[in-house]
């Protein structure tokens, strides 16, 4: 067992595979000696050198394009987009190219690539540096989408992402990078396996990324109020651990889905629709979404706080279901 931060765990996952497999490499803006905008790759340049920790100009489309072309020709790239928001300038590469190639080419090509997207708000980075855009990516057949909330999950999921023969998007929350946690083992965590972050009986709270912590806080408060909440972190948004969710909902009959996305058109909505479709008979009340407001992300700390969903919101929403 080791204690490390979420950021270090991501680095550890990348480094483990890079040590084992010379075809794994990292590219992105300032990922080299600078260590990445959030310091995630700090030290990797020293260990692996500039050939494998590869600085790029400010050309996100070309970063993903390079990842695609090199994956198609035998390498296993990890591409960092400095902020998830900048994926807007690489959507074609991600969506029309990487996600569809295998299918368009009749299954005859593999694209083992990982794209890292640091997302999320909370640091007054305003509307263009704080978004949670996972809903877009889950909507794209051909992509897998993962979103770890803890150092252990970050490490295990990173290993699986690198091992996967398909494009995998890893959403990382920038405000989690410095969060510490225990890492018990270095085994890959299979994509499509969710995790119960807290056991409970009366209500299921499905939470992603940083909202897992808010959910856990809310669960504590709910306990005081006599409600036993189960907190589930899907970790992998697609493929989704449907069994884990079904089991939990069959037990609790009530569900909150909480994500940091703007509510309208969110992945939280997809989860809600799915649960209603498949588990309607198990539900005693409608699935309730606790998300961010339907606004761009404001700069001022007090406004940003008002924008973001939090434990109190989850608590309120949960209470309302009883």
């Amino acid at each position: 067992m080791k204690t490390m931060t979420y950021g270090q765990a991501i680095k550890e996952g990348m480094s483990i595979r890079m040590r084992e497999n010379p075809n794994v490499y990292l590219l992105g803006e300032d990922v080299g000696a600078f260590g990445g905008c959030f310091g995630v790759s700090a030290g990797m340049f020293k260990e692996f050198g500039g050939k494998r920790i590869c600085d790029t100009p400010i050309s996100e489309g070309a970063i993903i394009g390079t990842a695609i072309g090199s994956a198609a020709t035998g390498l296993r790239p990890i591409a960092e987009i400095m902020m998830g928001d900048f994926v807007t300038v690489a959507m074609d590469q991600l969506v029309n190219q990487s996600a569809k190639m295998r299918y368009m080419f009749g299954g005859k090509i593999s694209l083992p690539l990982v794209v890292r997207l640091p997302g999320g708000a909370g640091v007054s980075a305003a509307a263009q540096h704080s978004q949670s855009l996972e809903a877009w990516l889950v909507h794209v057949p051909g992509l897998k989408v993962i979103y770890p909330s803890t150092p252990q999950d970050a490490l295990g999921l990173m290993l699986s992402a690198i091992d996967d023969d398909n494009p995998v998007i890893m959403i990382e929350h920038k405000a989690l990078y410095s969060v510490k946690g225990n890492v018990y083992n270095l085994a890959p965590i299979p994509l499509g396996k969710g995790d119960i972050k807290r056991k409970g009986n009366d209500i299921t709270i499905i939470a992603t990324g940083k909202m897992v912590y808010e959910a856990l806080t809310a669960a504590e408060s709910l306990k005081t109020a006599g409600i036993s909440a189960e907190v589930i972190d899907p970790r992998s948004l697609y493929p989704l651990d449907k069994n884990l969710i079904a089991d939990s909902v069959s037990k609790t009959h009530r569900v909150i889905v909480t994500t940091e996305e703007t509510k309208r058109g969110s992945y939280a909505g997809e989860l809600s629709a799915y649960i209603h479709e498949e588990l309607f008979d198990k539900l005693d009340s409608p699935v309730s979404r606790v998300c961010a407001l339907n606004t761009p992300i404001p700069f001022a700390p007090n406004l940003e706080k008002a924008f973001l969903p939090n434990a109190a919101d989850i608590f309120r929403a949960a209470k309302a279901l009883f």
Partner: protein
């Protein structure tokens, strides 16, 4: 540079294959046998034939929406191509891709592409792999004049330049991006002028002269293999047909069209071969006939092939997950 007779023969046959494949496709499209969008390469045969002649099977190419010529020249099988155009199970992509998405990894064909400019980025990755592994292959990146106004062109050339990637950028300047003539879509006469912006050696040549193409490409490929980085080559040529089949192309001035028809790259090459006594008419005729037979066989193959089983619609999305058939 001396070009062997064998090379000339092969280039001639390649050009003829492309010509006949496209003429047949034109016909089949009109008959309704080929669905979707079809962009013909008629009139541009010398570019891909001259370019790919100098490549090895394990060299890469990236292609465009107008990809048939590239794929044939790089050694793609016309049977599987035609079957793909028909949307048949035996096609290159099992009917899932169609004209705009043909790929053949064994031949280094990294795919035709429906997105203008997308191949430029993908080529970067192929070049990156080559340098990373030190395998001395090259990647040819084909693209049109119109695509040089996409941001991807710019980003690609810049990266290839700083990374010394073994990419040869082959611009097929056929003077049009759909209805926009080059003079309307950019303010320069030679696209090769754009190389300066990246410190990439650049030149423009007669794209209808297959010998010129071959020689120019050869030099650029040699340079790339030696680790000296990318080259940008603009091949001036012309699109005989409309942008896609169905476009009457009334925006093309008639004199312009006629002048270019006179510069038929295949006919020019034929004349060259005959007048220099490399091959006589009878010899060429034999090859022509063989090509036409190949095409007929390709069409027969496509025609007789089964449609894809509709259950295959959910396959091939991932390497390891099969989507449920009725998730709707």
């Amino acid at each position: 540079m001396n070009i062997s007779k064998e090379t000339m023969q092969h280039m001639y046959i390649t050009m003829k294959r492309i010509r006949e494949f496209e003429l047949k496709t034109q016909e089949l499209f009109a008959e309704g046998k080929v669905p979707g969008f079809v962009h013909l390469y008629l009139g541009e045969e010398a570019v891909s034939a001259g370019t790919c002649e100098y490549l090895n099977d394990n060299d890469y190419i990236t292609s465009t929406h107008r990809g048939h010529g590239h794929i044939i020249a790089k050694g793609g099988d016309m049977k599987y191509m035609m079957a793909e155009l028909f949307g048949k199970a035996t096609g290159y992509c099992k009917g899932k891709g169609g004209s705009m998405h043909i790929a053949d990894r064994d031949k280094g064909i990294l795919g035709a592409n429906g997105i203008v400019g997308a191949g430029q980025d993908i080529a970067l990755g192929a070049g990156f792999s080559i340098n990373y592994k030190g395998t001395k292959q090259v990647c040819i990146c084909f693209f049109g004049d119109g695509s040089t106004n996409q941001g991807t062109f710019h980003e690609s050339l810049n990266l290839a330049s700083i990374w010394h990637l073994p990419i040869v950028y082959v611009c097929e300047n056929n003077n049009y991006a759909i209805s926009m003539s080059q003079s309307r879509h950019q303010h320069i006469q030679n696209i090769s002028d754009r190389g300066t912006a990246y410190g990439i050696p650049s030149l423009h040549i007669d794209g209808n002269n297959v010998i010129a193409v071959y020689k120019t490409i050869a030099a650029a490929v040699d340079r790339a293999r030696k680790g000296e980085g990318p080259t940008l080559i603009e091949c001036k040529t012309y699109r005989w047909r409309g942008h896609f089949e169905g476009d009457p192309a009334i925006y093309k001035p008639q004199e312009e069209q006629e002048a270019w028809l006179k510069k038929d790259p295949l006919l020019q090459f034929k004349t060259y071969l005959e007048s220099n006594h490399f091959f006589n008419e009878d010899q060429l005729h034999i090859w022509d006939t063989a090509v036409c037979q190949e095409i007929d066989e390709a069409v027969r193959f496509a025609d007789e092939s089964p449609l894809p089983d509709i259950n295959t619609v959910v396959n091939d999305v991932y390497s390891d997950i099969t989507e449920e058939v009725r998730v709707r």
